[in-house]
Amino acid sequence: MRKHIRYGVTAAALAGVMLAASACGGTTRGDGDGSGSGSGGSEAEADPNAEIPEGLKISFLPKQLNNPYFTVADSGGKEAVEELGGEFKEVGPSEANASSQVSYINTLSQQGSDVIVTAANDPNAVCGALNQARQAGSVVVTFDSDASPDCRDLFISQASAKGIATAQVEMVAEQIGGEGEIAFLSATPNATNQNAWLKLMEEELKKDEYSGIEVVDTVYGNDDDQKSFNEMQGLLQTHPDLAGVVSPTTVGLAAAARYLGSSDYKGEVALTGLGTPNQMREYVKNGTVEEFALWKPSDLGYLAAYAGASHSAGRITGEEGQTFEAGRLGEYEIGADGEIVLGPPTVFNEDNIDDFDF
């Protein structure tokens, strides 16, 4: 029996070490010691006429490689970096998770990147690494998915969250004739963007003009093609009276359209959301989907590269109200919290979808 006790002692010792490693005194939520540190705003004055130096190292770190959306976004970034005469680099994990992104941030910082452009898999988990990179001299620009505002310099928003939510609610309301049951097919349950949009959409739907519309369910396809496909299938079977589905994620929308297109529900149930024209072309042409929306991802990457370069050169410091030139896209102004909005989303339908190739 003695050896059992000894194992027990080992386990207890383990727990003890863990305990000892932690500080003393009760630390509870709301002690006022907020999370994140932030290296604070830059004190330097902005010099709008500063020269953008040649050979800036601008690195793109998307949520994951092998995601066509980010491939397109990063190609826009590449275009901008080439115009600026900088060094473009794209790195990233093969699966979208925050911990491997942290490794890449550390690597980029270690390599001395001047600008790190990233889309955060988790707004907080990447924070520590981003701040360390900033302390080491990199400018951090987030795009698509923001990190906590105190650990990046600028955020390029694809469109205001409000704009995206409103556009989707308008589309679905019009397609189902203003009343009926609708459901959401979202990305992962933790996705920053999608959750914000869902919340805003539900608020928007509370307006009187949408009183006939009821949200009956929200399901998550985890931005996984097969899972989204199955969830769409489940939605339609669970709610026989469903009139419309909104999928605010490109993976989800494509999967849902594929299911809908091959099922008996085609034409009965409206489907809309955010998608890329290349993925959706077939379903728009065969009538499964009437219209959907998206910003241009390549412009997003393009703008992020210009914003990062301008910040690195000292043209801007991230203060609200500063403006900078972003190549072919023209002039942009920095909003509150260092946020820069790309513009309203583009709505794609049968008439215009062939004008786009991404």
Binding site: T71, S94, Q226, N230, Q233, Q237, T238, A254, R258, N278
Partner: protein, 367 residues
Amino acid sequence: MSVSDETGARGGGAAAAAGPPPAARGLGQESRTEHGGGVRTGRRLPQARELGILLALVLLVAVTTLANPGFLSGQSVRDLLLGATLLTILAVGQSMVLITRNVDLSVGSVMGLSAFAVGTVFVSFPGLPTPVVMGAGVLVGAACGVVNGVLVAAARVPALVVTLGTLYMFRGIDFWWASGRQINAADMPDGFLGLSRVTLLGMPLPAVVALAVVLGAGWYLRNYRSGRELYAVGSEPVAARLVGIPVDRRVFMPFVVNGSLAGIAGVLYASRFGTLDATVGTGLELEVVAAAVVGGVAIFGGSGTVYGAALGALLLSTIDAALPMLQVGSFWQQAVVGLLILVSIGLDRLLALRAARRLRGGGSRGA
């Protein structure tokens, strides 16, 4: 190769006869009679085992239908069958590997690689007839299976380690090959994409393929000498070698079959889902093993049937489909599946213990 095999078998026989310390071997054997015991008590026990899963399946469908009559609608059943297809095919292949006391963790990666190969061939050679492209997809799978099989059977390296290694390798090759590309439905011919809408006797074509795979593998394992020998190899490799079974070849073959089946699954995936990137099938391996284990295939070889594995796959797929309808929060799904795995292996253990007790006239032994 075959010469070396035979020499191996003979040499092994001699060594085993002369060599092993009798005490250790004897004791080792005792623990295994239990796994084998299930098989040897006649066909009754495994059948009871499969009936049990079938019962659970019927119960689940009944409860779900009561709660939500839409569950048994034509479209819904068709979706369910289609959804279970891939898992069933993979579970059949995995069972054959498991029966020989090996495991193949690389199936998810192989399926992904094969699916992407199909897409790429369609893009690169638009003129090729569809069946040829499908054949190419299966071949990719078979090739991966050969790699696994050679490493395990010829280089005699533990299957768990090898296939964990090839899991990373095949996935890496997939990523490297795809390099960020995605293949969309528009890149593939409509005839190919429409395969899952083709029905045969009211059943979707992929489900028919799965059924054929299950019946074919079941028939082979039961009625062919080499099929029966897989069980022998799995329950007691040393004894199998002693009686002259070419163990290496029996170990090699299931890997190739499993690879080919993963290839078929990849082709069906490409046909059904239309959107292909390098992440297809990620993390599927443990689900496949789970389906086989739920279906009564012993993880340490020597017992179980492909019918059970197929039922296990069907049960897991049905759970996935039923839980949302029973208004069980999607967050609970995984926990329920995990619990089911534990219950079914516990059940297996109980059945085996009872069989062993019956054989020995009541003597029970500590675990």
